[in-house]
Subunit: 118 residues, 2 copies
Amino acid sequence: MQIVEMICEKILTRTWLEGDKIPSVRELAVSIEVNPNTIMRSYAYLQEKGIIQNKRGIGYFVAEHAHDDTLDLMKFNFIKNDLPLFFKTISLLNIDFEELKERFNKFEKGKEKDEDKQ
Amino acid sequence: MQIVEMICEKILTRTWLEGDKIPSVRELAVSIEVNPNTIMRSYAYLQEKGIIQNKRGIGYFVAEHAHDDTLDLMKFNFIKNDLPLFFKTISLLNIDFEELKERFNKFEKGKEKDEDKQ
DNA sequence: TCTACTGTTCTAGTTGCCTAATACAGTAAA
DNA sequence: TTTACTGTATTAGGCAACTAGAACAGTAGA
């Protein structure tokens, strides 16, 4: 699932565009130092979700509408699973929504600096 | 770690007060259907963090200042680990902070209803 | 056709974490 | 002292997910 999220991120940030060939099972396996079988399972999952497509003997490719589909899928899971847990936690820790907003602004500022460096 | 969080939650919500005896290793093991050894590891971790104390042959007890210490510990971990990931995700999914606030308000309203039922 | 890529499948072995079962030890009350 | 709780420790085993290594199959280009 960590691998799946890594791939989704590439698609959402438009690092990988629709129609692009993505790394081969073996290639990605080497670069992130896991077993090809593990990559296969991740790719199979994403193919099932219609986010990537496979041409046997050639490789895997980012599907049409992958960006929007990924966004829908991730947003759905986020709202269903992560958000309730998150709200429960900030409620439990008595964290103010204003404090949250401040920290988020700081976070976004940090990102701008990263972009400036590149 | 799920067990640890469950216990922290009991302390934060003042379900278990400082000085209270908490369920014995075996008792809790039976009630949540895990092995006593698993509970032991959780209790050992919390003892190491100074949140619970142990009296051999008698049981485990909620330590003095456990509420504040738990709050500090959880808040520290939350800000260090969960929050950056959370911000990254809402940024990636392009979720507006206003939308977040609305969903949080809805969440809080849902809690009020739960409290009314009790 | 041959070569070098791709995906796909299979078996065997490793690892981490949990379970199961048992034993030993400290404490308190009958 | 006995009983019935506590915590603590050890050993063996199960299970899920991964690794390791190999084999087979489709595709494209030299």
